[in-house]
Symmetry: C2
Subunit: 251 residues, 2 copies
Amino acid sequence: MTPYKTKTRLFVDAGLTAGGGLDVSEAQAHYLGHVMRLGTGDGVVLFNGRDGEWSAVIDSLAKKRGALTVEKLLRPQSAEPGPWLAFAPIKKTSTDFIIEKATELGVSRLCPVFTKNTNTTRINLDRFRAHAIEAVEQSQRLTVPEFMEPQTLDQFIAGWPPGRILLHLDESGGGRPIAEVLARLRDQGGGDEPSCGFLSGPEGGFDASELDALGKLDFVTGVDLGPRVLRADTAALSALACWQALLGSGH
Amino acid sequence: MTPYKTKTRLFVDAGLTAGGGLDVSEAQAHYLGHVMRLGTGDGVVLFNGRDGEWSAVIDSLAKKRGALTVEKLLRPQSAEPGPWLAFAPIKKTSTDFIIEKATELGVSRLCPVFTKNTNTTRINLDRFRAHAIEAVEQSQRLTVPEFMEPQTLDQFIAGWPPGRILLHLDESGGGRPIAEVLARLRDQGGGDEPSCGFLSGPEGGFDASELDALGKLDFVTGVDLGPRVLRADTAALSALACWQALLGSGH
């Protein structure tokens, strides 16, 4: 669990089996050789989200390419059933931050949602996914969170699956304390991680009509994160940290 | 509590009394005029960490200077007794992030601590304080966290006040679940916010000898933040978010 002792971890697309060979991408070859200073004969750890985690050895490494041989299974694949996070995209670095930290904190799905006060209109899911993969590699996860296509808040609400609870990070002061809400979910779930999601607003907050619409939905519970005004990214992170502490696996 | 409806808040050094006048700094004049697009006759909110929160009006505003008149008290000064955060400085943007988010999440004191695996040696407390003030302004706090002079881990431990609990964010797997530890503190405190602090390590984690020394101190409790390897800044933030949810005021 100590990152500095952990071998370099790489997420790959290829299937992983003992003795199998695979080529790394140009970016990965650069990362292995120039960032991590590895070379032929050095070991790395591979995973692809499907076949578990494997040790591998570098057979050859050049500036723009490299070849690895898969050795043995280190951890079998397992499900990582974390919460979902729906978030209004905010300015670039803050959105990157939400994706990185949410991945570290165990989200299983990320949903960009456009609200009335959302200023950003361009979403680059490939960039989001690259950020998430980096966080998956360093946090020792075995799966990459799934990204939904960006939706409007109306579309998002209409597509929300029955039976899943949506916790709205409510800055208006009308929410219930998050520890109380999560403890109740935990007690209702009998120890299982219940299916839930969080909805985090834009920098300008939700519009009054949006708050009104959310308040009328029976699967939505407004949660309160305390007396201070939190930036949108801080609110999303805080909620996920509380989820991990009160409902997450690993304790 | 909705930030987009909140008037521009400024932290000032001067004393605040009804009818008093004050001059703003060059940076604040720029902020008021060019960032917030305010001008003569517009209202702002002022606080100084001592005299509460006041409304004020802009009397004059030029490129590099401005004058305000203090009008009336909006909120009396109150104590903001949050936890302390001792943290090993990490790379610049991540340290800035810790300071910003810790301030939003209510810390009352920030202590930079040099550990064996800390790579950074230069600390600019003025820069840290400027980041904290910005977060105080936007989060509606009335006080700026206090910054301690940087210390080594040994100095920090030797100077820790008797009776205050130090929760060490333990990545080694030996800590107790944070929700359990905080709930016990809450129950022991009988509803008051107990005096506690968090200690967050560097990117490389604490050295084995440091972990050993921390483990022997009776005021230190190791806390576990879950099964994934968290970056140092994520760990600090997560712990503070859990503190707010389980022990913080405002619920």
